[in-house]
């Protein structure tokens, strides 16, 4: 019996040794980075996946959508191309993806989450040196968080890339109504999915004229359906090609990340009124770093007018707005080659 007990003991020791070895490994190859580290800040441990070519110490820090998305959700053919030239940091925000911690709902705020991003920059500098240079990219909700981060402190960033971002979540209610009406009218004239677009016009007529969360969520849900129709009718390119190389499935336990995502979304959207209160438009002139705005022509989730307003208002002297004609709310997947080309061009210019 003692022999078996010894085997049990050995197995436990091996398991713990493995954990210590994996947690203490500190070697990395700058040309071909594949590191996972965590940032501990105000009771949260947030995962940062650092990949790609860090030989120039130029890093693109990405902020995922949601709220409650996954950092590695950006991975695919567009970012594979970007990784060949520069380092990319995929960040699981507080309460998202594989991030964990122990804090109260009341502690969560956009301001705290901007501090999390700035804490990540501090950690990156410690890891790769103070000569490391950073670009910030935010997609969708990540565009809101990125804007808030830059308003808090933009000194560490060489440039800002806003992909389908919402710098004015509050204003999206009106934008939905305008965008739905315009798109539905043109699609009905073309004879495409007429029943669906007529139902969209009915919905726009029924919703509360004053910003209302229930109606907002219904419009938001319909926006995704509308993009499916536009894809079926040949206006948006297939996202499958762009998703090639996406490594989300094995990197996230879908129950854990799904539960995390729902919870943080509920805190920010339901409890803190993300879409009822937040509007950074008036503060955008304070952002002066070079900025690139990318939006899909048929983005129904964050309509292209949102990017136009942000582009017109931002204080940067070096700025550009690119409309991807064959895209909806995901130009990096529907037009991956153009996306990577434009992002790399912007980074080359401003690094």
């Amino acid at each position: 019996m003692k022999q078996y007990q010894l085997i049990f003991l050995q197995l436990i020791i091996v398991a713990f040794a493995m954990s210590i070895v994996t947690s203490c490994s500190n070697e990395f190859d700058l040309d071909n980075l594949d590191e996972t580290l965590f940032v501990r800040h105000k009771n949260a441990d947030m995962a940062a996946y650092i990949k790609g070519n860090g030989s120039e110490k130029v890093f693109l820090i990405t902020l995922h959508g949601g709220p409650g998305g996954r950092g590695l959700g950006f991975t695919g053919s567009a970012f594979n191309t970007i990784e060949k030239e520069y380092g990319v940091v995929y960040f699981d925000q507080r309460g998202s993806g594989n991030s964990q911690g122990n804090y109260s709902e009341n502690d969560v705020s956009i301001d705290l989450m901007t501090e999390d991003v700035l804490a990540l920059v501090q950690v990156m500098k410690r890891k790769f040196g103070n000569d490391a240079r950073f670009f910030l990219l935010g997609g969708s909700w990540g565009g809101t968080l990125g804007t808030a981060t830059l308003l808090k402190d933009q000194s560490d960033f060489k440039g800002w890339i806003d992909v389908d971002g919402a710098s004015n979540p509050f204003g999206m209610y009106e934008l939905y109504k305008e965008s739905f009406t315009a798109t539905a009218t043109s699609q009905i004239e073309l004879g495409n999915s007429v029943d669906f677009w007529e139902s969209i016009l009915e919905l726009v007529a029924q919703v509360d004229p004053v910003n209302n969360l229930d109606d907002f969520l219904e419009l938001n849900s319909k926006a995704f359906e509308a993009e499916e129709k536009l894809f079926e009718d040949g206006f948006i390119d297939n996202v499958e090609n762009g998703l090639e190389g996406n490594i989300t499935f094995y990197s996230y336990n879908f129950l854990t990340s799904g539960w995390n995502g729902n919870q943080i979304a509920s805190i920010l959207v339901d409890d803190q009124g993300l879409f009822q209160i937040i509007d950074f438009t008036d503060q955008l002139p304070q952002i002066t770093i070079p900025s690139l705005f990318i939006s899909g022509r048929y983005d129904m989730v964050v309509p292209v007018a949102s990017a136009q307003t942000a582009f017109d208002t931002i204080g940067s002297t070096s700025k550009e707005l690119l409309i991807f004609e064959r895209s909806g709310h995901g130009p990096l997947f529907s037009e991956p080659e153009r996306f990577s080309t434009e992002v790399l061009k912007f980074m080359d210019q401003h690094k």
């Binding site: 501990r40 441990d45 990197s251 336990n253």
Partner: protein, 204 residues
């Protein structure tokens, strides 16, 4: 009197020791040990070891289709120690320990059904390289990770191998919430597959 007390104490001590040895032997006879896979297959994989103490055993006779059937119902105290990791992302690594009680029914053919409730449980995550940013200062965290209260409940089936050292196999579905995880409670599910060992059977 003093001499009497010393002799009495010595005799009583020896008697207690003998009694304890008997109880110890009986205690180990009621023990089974288990080892098995524990994980979610796609996202984390690991190993669990554990022990069970047969606290109560009841034989229940039933008559079905004019044949007599005997089912054995057991109540067992159990403890588990495990470790699981996600080799791909290194973000889902952790060790756990839990203790509780198991109810198990074994039918005449040796097929088993069990429900394991472990109200006392602890999960400790092990994170890769971690840096803490606090009040403007940055420090590397030693042995990074977090501890969670993590009770569990498992429901499963198994098969008894009567009289063998490898006395049974089991397949459980385990539910183990983690308190407090982020701003709430994280529900986690895992699968456990393994074998139980009864070394008493070796003696026979």
């Amino acid at each position: 009197m003093k001499k009497f007390i010393i002799i009495f104490t010595l005799f009583y001590g020896i008697n207690l020791l003998a009694q304890n040895q008997g109880e110890t032997s009986s205690f180990f006879d009621k023990m089974e040990y288990k080892i098995g896979y524990s994980g979610t297959i796609f996202w984390s994989n690991g190993l669990t070891v554990g022990a069970e103490y047969n606290w109560k055993e009841i034989q229940k006779n039933k008559e079905r289709k004019s044949t007599q059937r005997t089912n054995t119902h057991q109540f067992l105290f159990n403890g588990n120690l495990g470790f699981a990791t996600n080799f791909a992302s290194k973000t889902d690594t952790g060790g756990f320990a839990n203790f509780g009680i198991t109810w198990r029914r074994t039918n005449k053919k040796g097929k088993q059904f069990s429900i394991e409730v472990n109200p006392i449980g602890y999960y400790r995550s092990f994170l890769p390289e971690t840096y803490e940013v606090k009040d403007g200062n940055l420090n590397k965290v030693f042995l990074p990770g977090r501890g969670y209260y993590s009770p569990s409940i498992s429901v499963g089936i198994g098969r008894l191998r009567k009289g063998k050292v490898r006395s049974a196999s089991y397949l459980n579905v385990n539910f183990s919430p983690r308190f407090n995880y982020n701003a709430g409670t994280l529900p986690t599910f895992s699968v456990q597959y393994g074998f139980r060992f009864n070394f008493k059977n070796k003696k026979r």
